[in-house]
């Protein structure tokens, strides 16, 4: 690699002694004494600039602008407020599976004579005010669904009202209702969080509904 005296600097004096070593290199630093040095400073400087350029581009591209919340190197931080869009059917399915499925069964078929069905039920597909009231306040007494009478059990109170057993938020109730109104062949309109809130505000705290009271709701 060296060997060629034309290419590599040879000091005037040997660098064997330590003072000579220090002297010779100090001279080399000041640009003297490096006789025959053919290294192209431009080439070395250019390599450093190239590395620096690469670094800048890489950092701009793959660091998520140094955001502590970005874990994917290809992502960029979001501008403005982060808005999550949640599908109420998916959310409702999760709550249905955790709670309602125990009585109304996985296909919304209920249990004959005990728990009314939801699939094809005129209550579920009927006016939103009725189903909202059933879930928020519960239902006590006899109810007639798809031509069959059910009176053996009670629908519990789910709404966020006084003495509620479950205290579900309006959003949770809206999601479950939207889910049961669009699943198993049901084709009713979705119910929004505001619909539930409006009913809760209008009715206030009260005990469980009965079939007769519900039928007054249009």
């Amino acid at each position: 690699m060296n060997g060629d005296p034309q290419r590599d600097p040879v000091p005037d004096q040997a660098v064997a002694a330590d003072e000579r070593l220090l002297e010779a290199h100090e001279r080399a630093l000041r640009g003297r004494g490096d006789r025959g040095d053919r290294h192209r400073p431009l080439a070395i400087g250019a390599s450093l600039i190239a590395l620096a350029l690469f670094s800048g581009v890489y950092l701009e591209r793959y660091t998520g602008h140094f955001s502590p919340l970005i874990f994917d190197e290809n992502a960029k931080p979001l501008k403005g407020e982060l808005v999550f869009k949640i599908d109420p059917v998916v959310l409702g399915q999760r709550y249905y599976g955790a709670e309602c499925v125990a009585c109304h069964r996985s296909q919304g078929e209920g249990s004959p004579g005990i728990y009314p069905p939801l699939a094809g039920s005129e209550w579920v597909n009927g006016p939103p005010g009725r189903v909202i009231r059933i879930v928020v306040y519960g239902l006590r007494g006899k109810v007639r669904v798809e031509g069959n009478d059910f009176s053996a059990s009670t629908m519990p109170v789910y709404g966020r009202i006084l003495n509620s057993g479950h205290n579900w938020s309006d959003r949770k109730i809206a999601a479950v209702l939207t889910y049961i109104r669009q699943e198993w062949g049901n084709k009713a309109d979705p119910i929004s969080e505001d619909d539930v809130a409006a009913v809760r505000k209008a009715v206030g705290n009260r005990d469980a509904m009965s079939e007769d009271e519900l039928e007054l709701v249009k």
Partner: protein
């Protein structure tokens, strides 16, 4: 040419020989432990009934003895020697250095006992139990006092590349050890931050401490042994600052795909790439070593080659596309060996072969043993890194294929792991030869006694200018 002996050398003989003796002793201990650990990779039942000798502890023992025993002692010995010689005066504060050395090695021994009894911390490069860390902090400081006094009290006010690297290494280790002690043990950071701090420590220990210690020796020995001014020396300072400023930023390179913000591995990648400049400058400055026939420069040229190779391998494997394949395979171990054995240790070997005749005033006991060590060390490290790379290749292919059973990967990697054990045995043999030659030289049993001031012994032939 290279054998110019000064009275200052013999005046500072005591602490330097003590550091070197401990260093080489730990090297042999670590090589022995390395064989056990490597053997357990292909024979998992080997010694598994003794808790002390299970794989986790033996590999931590091997690493601790190597880094804190061998590399630290030998690197400090050469740094003190170089700083002392460049200062033009006998080493000052020698009693500090001796006390520090004794305390440091006592704490290395305590750390090994601690690791063996199950107190290892589980962090890479930092198997040291937390209770020895403070002692190591202060004993390192005591040794560093001698080096810093030699630097600040130098007769000629100019500074040389070896100065920069040595002084950086003297300051950096207490800094990184104290930071990591507070953040991982005294007041532990929580969760992911621990992995980030541990990664930063492991990287800094190499890039800011061990690499500068060995480069200090290389920058001194190469011009001394060749008698030439370093070519392109003007770039040595930018190369040095490149290492110091960006070297520690690559701590996150093993956290690719981990639960850390994306910028941490990305900054690590950029840091590794920028360090190519440092490796490039080092190779450019020290390339006279490659054409020299002096045996110490043979060691050092292998070391410089490995240093460049390690920088290239680091910057390749830090990118996500490559890291996905090399992570969790033996590629990591291979890279560690290239850096710690191929680069740092080979340069330190060369430095010791150059320095010891001057420190003791005697030629090496046996020139043949020096050549034997060169052959064994070079073939051992090539065999070790080669077999680990092949094992990594097999593992990487298998681990990415969901249809391949884990035990199958092991079966396929097994032949290469056997080869790695063979390589470890070669390295142990080389280290033992080195220890024997050192002991025989230092004890003065040398028959080929001649004052080094009369000229170099035959093995240390330097080319004329």
């Amino acid at each position: 040419m290279n054998g110019e002996w000064t009275p200052n050398d013999s005046a500072s003989r005591g602490p330097l020989l003590l550091l070197l003796a401990f260093g080489i002793l730990w090297l042999v201990v670590s090589a022995g432990l390395g064989i056990i650990a490597s053997f357990q990779l292909h024979e998992p039942e080997f010694l598994s009934e003794y808790a002390i000798l299970t794989y986790g502890r033996v590999s931590a023992l091997c690493e601790t003895a190597f880094v804190y025993g061998w590399l630290a002692n030998a690197g400090l010995a050469l740094a003190l020697w170089v700083l002392g010689r460049l200062s033009g005066e006998p080493l000052r504060a020698q009693n500090w250095a001796v006390a520090g050395t004794l305390l440091w090695n006592a704490s290395v021994a305590a750390a090994l006992v601690g690791v063996a009894s199950g107190d290892a911390t589980g962090f890479e490069f930092l198997g040291l139990p937390s209770y020895v860390q403070l002692v190591m902090f202060f004993s390192y400081g005591a040794i560093a006092v001698a080096g810093l006094l030699a630097w600040s009290g130098r007769i000629r006010r100019v500074s040389f590349a070896s100065h920069w690297y040595a002084v950086a290494a003297l300051f950096v280790f207490p800094w990184i050890l104290s930071v990591v002690h507070v953040m991982l043990f005294a007041a532990p950071a929580r969760g992911v931050l621990q992995a980030i701090v541990a990664g930063w420590f492991a990287r800094s220990a190499w890039a800011l401490w061990l690499a500068p210690l060995s480069l200090c020796a290389a920058y001194y020995v190469v011009p001394k042994a060749t008698g030439r001014v370093l070519p392109a020396y003007g770039y040595a300072a930018p190369g040095f600052w490149c290492l110091i400023l960006v070297g520690g930023l690559a701590g996150g390179r093993h956290l690719v795909g981990g639960p850390v913000p994306a910028w941490i591995p990305s900054v690590a990648a950029v840091s590794c790439v920028l360090l190519l400049f440092n490796a490039f400058v080092v190779a450019l400055n020290l390339r006279c070593a490659f054409s020299s026939k002096a045996v110490e420069l043979r060691f050092i040229s292998v070391g410089i080659g490995a240093y460049v190779l390690s920088a290239v391998a680091d910057s390749l494997t830090t990118f996500r596309a490559v890291a996905e394949r090399t992570q969790f395979t033996h590629a990591d171990e291979a890279q560690g060996q290239v850096a710690l054995y191929g680069a740092a240790s080979m340069i330190l070997f060369g430095g010791i072969y150059h320095a010891l005749p001057l420190i003791t005033g005697k030629a090496w006991y046996s020139a043949r043993l020096v050549v034997a060590h060169l052959v064994l060390a070079v073939s051992g490290i090539i065999l070790l890194v080669g077999s680990l790379c092949l094992s990594a290749f097999v593992q990487s292919r298998g681990l990415l294929d969901p249809h391949v059973q884990f035990s199958e990967i092991f079966q396929h990697a097994r032949p290469w792991l056997l080869m790695a054990t063979l390589a470890r045995a070669v390295l142990l043999l080389g280290s033992t030869v080195f220890l024997a030659n050192f002991v025989l030289t230092a004890c003065g049993i040398s028959e080929a006694y001649r004052p080094a001031s009369l000229g170099p012994p035959s093995t240390l032939e330097a080319p004329g200018p």
